[in-house]
Symmetry: C2
Subunit: 380 residues, 2 copies
């Protein structure tokens, strides 16, 4: 049973793809969930907008053309969708989607199970979706207890990015690599990966698009930073790949020739000095695409011999494969280093209602470096 202070209904952000090629964002009033025996009810006070949330929230669109059509109490925003986007999200038509990978808040009600009761009144962070809302009920065991005096912002992004960065290193070790290349490296995740690789002494090649992003990473202590799109990019990349021995890359971009350039740089580094072989180096070179910042086709030149792979990479299946003990090991580390290695900074804090404001949408949809937004449902 919810405690008396918990209202019977709550706000939940809904993203609906309509048949008329319009995306409709609204704050639905839905029943506040009641925690089951093993569950707790969290009053959410902070939830970040990540690129992955954004793809779901804006239905792969860029949010342009957004218009407010609701009232102050019940805001509704409509956004026209292109034909290409409609084809890609046809499976969503007519079914409102809830959004929000993760967040943090205070446990305000709990089921009868002792593990759930033990969390009453505690600050916890969580993942599992539906975080763009006032409340969320979840099993006690998936909550990560935080220090009671921690700020909402410090625990909100304690799952997706930290676990992604840690899992990237798990994949690296499991598949026999010793160094990494990371693209879109100035992202929140990228900055986290720089700190993590420093802590774990893993050589990391950071690929960014602009000089100011490179400067940001160098300020964090990043040793290898290369800027794509410059005349010297191919040479710079190859030099950094050779210096680190990286044969594994994680690519958040996806489209264009970047993955291909990385594979070619790895092949050039591996075959440098070796006798000519028409089949190329026999060292396996791998690029995992884990995001889609550029939705255009991936173009692969195939100047990388035959020992190469390109593939999708996704957090949750990798986490499942790691298993329970491994997950506890990683989560424990995250809890210990939440304000250091795994810290996230935000450009702006907004209310749940402001998340539907056309001007605000333009701001967070731009996905600018250092421009991450934090939703604070507790503020309105």
């Amino acid at each position: 049973m919810p405690s008396p202070s918990v209202p019977p209904t709550m706000r939940q952000l809904h993203s609906l793809v309509r048949e008329d090629a319009t995306l409709e964002l609204s704050l639905a009033q839905v029943p506040t969930p009641e925690p089951a025996e093993h569950e707790v009810l969290i009053r959410i006070d902070a939830t970040p907008i990540s690129p992955s949330d954004l793809a779901l929230l804006l239905a792969l669109g860029d949010g342009s053309g957004a218009e407010s059509t609701g009232t102050a109490d019940a805001p509704v925003t409509t956004i026209p969708l292109s034909r290409g986007v409609m084809a890609a999200v046809s499976g969503r038509v007519g079914e409102p989607t809830t959004v929000g990978n993760e967040g943090c808040g205070v446990v305000v009600a709990a089921g009868s199970d002792p593990a759930a009761q033990a969390l009453l009144g505690r600050r916890v962070s969580f993942a599992g979706g539906d975080a763009f809302a006032d409340y969320r009920a979840l099993p006690a065991q998936v909550c990560l207890p935080l220090p009671d005096d921690s700020a909402p912002a410090s625990g909100a992004a304690s799952f997706v990015n930290p676990m992604t960065a840690l899992l990237m290193l798990e994949t690296m070790r499991e598949e026999g690599h010793t160094a990494l290349v990371h693209t879109a490296a100035a992202s929140s995740l990228g900055q986290m990966l720089v700190r993590l690789c420093q802590a774990d002494s893993v050589p990391l090649v950071n690929v960014v698009r602009r000089e100011e992003q490179a400067a940001l990473l160098r300020d964090l202590g990043a040793e290898h930073v290369v800027i794509s799109g410059t005349d010297s990019f191919a040479a710079d990349l190859q030099e950094a790949v050779a210096a680190t021995g990286a044969t594994l890359a994680f690519d958040a971009i996806g489209g264009g020739r970047l993955a291909s350039q990385i594979l070619s740089a790895m092949e050039a580094a591996e075959s440098a000095g070796a006798p000519y072989s028409r089949y190329g180096s026999d060292v396996h070179k791998q690029v995992y695409i884990y995001g889609g910042l550029d939705r255009s086709p991936t173009e692969l030149i195939r100047s990388c011999g035959f020992a190469w792979g390109l593939g999708g990479w996704l957090l949750m299946p990798r986490l499942s494969r790691l298993g329970g003990e491994g997950i506890v090991r990683l989560r424990t580390r995250v809890a210990h280093e939440l304000t250091t290695t795994f810290a996230t900074t935000y450009a702006r804090e907004i209310t749940l209602a402001e998340a539907l404001d056309p001007g605000t949408i333009a701001g967070y949809a731009a996905l600018e470096t250092g421009g991450k937004y934090l939703i604070r449902p507790d503020l309105g």
Copy 2:
């Protein structure tokens, strides 16, 4: 020591990329190798020209512009190379390359080791390169003894294609798939794969470019044949993929969007009827590129969720990974089914000297279905 009937020198086809962007093919006179203790000397009487030989022989070029510049006794053919080709084969400049993956012939000399002596006078097939020549010395253990009355043509291609087809099925089982897609499926290898999959009850989707190739495979009993480039290709492919449950493809083409279309068809088949997921199906879909008939970039649309992989696939490393016992198991099967499952037919038999003839080059470089050439060094 070679036996008295073995001449001290022999012909060996050399492919040389010159600094002046010219490919030079010649028949060099080189010392006939002497078999070491564990080796046998094979007088080669048949060696096929496979697509993989061709890439090496013509230095990735198409053989156009070939001119004879030598004499009847010492033929030399020159072929101009484009700038793009020169960049790709820069590692070969100035170093003549020998060619010929495999072949068969008669053992005319042997080292003192009993295993080598036991093969004296026997017909054997072999792989290991340098087959476009009069003789080849090789360890006895890598030779596959053939029936003494077998025709040269029947044993010449007993390694690369049969082992490739068998290894494809090994990869399929090892990686947890139960059916296959194969492109360029009317090739010699493709026809072999049709017969092998029939024998092993493995569902196979054959992708070809033309109706007559489809007819050829249907005549072999192929159940699923789809023709690329037609209006109904995407729908036909998806239907065949769904009918077979194929989640693994071997692609000999490499360039363009075919691999992408296959992954999309697999994703569509796997997610049909399932609730919408922004991450797509969690069934892993894999395309291995094992050839490069189209050298243009591979274009991947990425409408295949996140559980996908694209990679290079090469016979020899896969074979090494399989290990000695596995190799013996596969070779034994090949020997038993050499004139049935693993039979190869040839459009034309040519002499070693004719392999340098500009008109003949145009014929075998065309790589037409049913147009495989067999070099017969014993005929001149």
